[in-house]
Amino acid sequence: MGVFIDAIREAAGMLSSGALDVREIVGTSLKVSLLATLIGLTIGIPAGFVLGGVRFFGRRALLVLASTGMGLPPVVVGLFVVMLLSRRGPLGTLQALYTTEAMVFAQVIIATPLIVAITAAAVASVPRDLRLQARSLGASRLQEAMLTLREARFGVAAAVAAGFGAIISEVGAVMMVGGNISGQTRVMTTAIVQEARKGHFGLALALGGVLLTLVLVVNVFLATHQHADDRYSR
């Protein structure tokens, strides 16, 4: 038990003193994961809307593909991006390997299928006749789509939470494409792995605490928002 008590004491000290290392690592994590979530949402919500709300040839196959993508192992994504960006890879000339841009790229690949699949399911659960009702009141196609997304907002919020949660807590892809370079590409998960290996459980635990708190904050925010909406739901 002593190892836990020591680690907790050390972690509390680091967090309360605002140690530079911790702030920098948390900052990089947030920068990479928020940007990746934002890009994932920009691609995933329209794609999820089309998959969930529009009937076209090949829709089922794409839905299966998106669902499969939800289970993409981050290390496989990491491997794919490393090969893509390595000196001999098709995008090697960009010299982007071991940069935060490469990490964002890998995380977008992980988050987007999650956002697409969850948004598609949420949109599909909105009755099609509701859109017909909106059209019959004069809505344009875009206004119909906006109304559908508004009706499906619980599901869309869940997609945001799932996407962000998945990438801020993954380690395989960011480790491979970012390289865990101190002051540059070190994020919370990679730092936890490294510090734990070195036996610096205090720093690892402090970062773990911050990571859990972040995920909790996002979920509490979304849950509170949903609760506010519940007043107008059955």
């Binding site: 009702q133 019959s136 009141l137 004069g138 344009s140």
Partner: protein
């Protein structure tokens, strides 16, 4: 087909040569349908008769395979959003959006960029019209079926549409609420004087709500005209049976003096209050609820009813609270709506003789149409 310029004054919405098929099956085949401005036309027919398809096409919510939709005499299509903004619809399920009652009613106004102050005033006014003045701030998704349907109506009426489309708006309500709301809808539609297409499969509802009625069967319009006339006078077996009548009646006017016509149907003389010419061929209609049955040979109570036909009971069929009793008299078949108690008292059963009594004022008469289709 009639070109747009031939459309008479006062027709708000028309469909001309409308055709629609689903997977090779013809779902709609209507040569012409007109809805006069400011009036309500009920579209009545059994399930699968094409009513909702016709409504969706006229409401620019579905593209027909062929034909034209004319709004105020102008050709319009699904792509014409300006035309769609002049219409509003209410469906069987109210499909209220998440939010308050007022948010729902204001939805179409927001789409039309109506100013917030104006919006608030119109929403309050619309809710007042449908009897929900106090419910604006309530969650729309916690309303009862009847309340939700009223909100849906307010959401459409608040737009002051040129044409209001109602697709089985009361079908999911219980009979009591349905009857109450049908009367209320009739009052509101008459007060608003909005051109309305009202789809229903319920005859009572159609007769309460709309002064004009069109009957659909197999994707075609088989009859249309003033509700009272269409519900009473029929030209074919199917329509007569749909309305619970014995059979279509046709006859020749034997004499007509001072508004009282003597009409010979088969071998029976029927008196009717009508203006017609001697020798004219006419269709007749007598609603089952206007026909009384008495025991054959029994002493008749004092009555002003001119028509007293000795008859024989052909069939007795239960229809909810009443029985439909079909009788035959000299080749003429009539239906009577008889209470359960009366059926038991009179011992009505096939083959039993009786006397059918009805007033001359209960007989609807109109000239025979050889090609009845889409008059409205």
């Amino acid at each position: 087909m009639t070109p747009a310029q031939d459309i008479g004054q006062g027709i708000a919405l028309s469909g001309v040569g409308l055709r629609k098929s689903y997977r090779g099956r013809r779902a709609l085949d209507v040569d012409r349908v007109d809805i006069p401005a400011g009036q309500a036309l009920a579209l009545l027919g059994p399930s699968g008769s094409g009513k909702s398809t016709l409504l969706a096409i006229l409401g620019l919510l579905m593209r027909p395979d062929a034909g034209r939709v004319l709004l105020g005499g102008e050709d319009v299509s699904c792509r014409d959003r300006y035309a769609r903004l002049r219409m509003a619809a209410v469906f069987q399920r109210p499909y209220l959006f998440k939010g308050t009652v007022a948010d729902n009613v204001a939805y179409g106004l927001k789409l039309r960029s109506v100013r917030a102050s104006e919006r608030g005033r119109r929403v309050a006014e619309a809710l007042q019209h449908v009897g929900l003045a106090e419910m604006g701030s309530r969650s729309a998704l916690t309303l009862s079926g009847g309340e939700a349907q009223r909100v849906a109506l307010a959401r459409a009426l608040v737009l002051r549409p040129d044409v209001l489309l109602l697709d089985e708006p009361l079908a999911s309500l219980d009979p009591l609420e349905k009857g109450r709301l049908a009367r209320e809808f009739a009052r509101i539609l008459a007060a608003e004087a909005v051109t309305t297409l009202y789809v229903t499969h319920d005859q009572d509802e159609a007769m309460v709500v709309a002064p004009l009625l069109a009957i659909m069967r197999g994707g075609r319009l088989v009859a249309s005209g003033p509700t009272d006339e269409v519900a009473s006078v029929h030209d074919d077996e199917w329509t007569a049976s749909f309305f619970g009548m014995g059979a279509p009646l046709k006859g020749v006017v034997g004499a007509c003096e001072e508004g009282l016509a003597r009409i010979v149907c088969e071998g029976v003389e029927v008196f009717a209050v009508a203006e017609c010419r001697e020798g004219e061929r006419v269709s007749l209609g007598i609603r089952p609820e206007d026909v009384l049955l008495f025991e054959a040979g029994a002493e008749m109570p004092h009555s002003t009813a001119r028509n007293r036909l000795p008859c024989v009971v052909e069939s007795v069929t239960a229809r909810g609270a009443t029985y439909s009793v079909v009788v035959e008299s000299g080749g003429v078949r009539l239906a009577a709506a008889v209470s359960r108690a009366a059926v038991a008292d009179l011992g009505l059963a096939p083959g039993i003789p009786a006397v059918a009594v009805f007033k001359a004022t209960a007989v609807r008469v109109r000239p025979v149409w050889d090609n009845v289709s889409t008059r409205s």
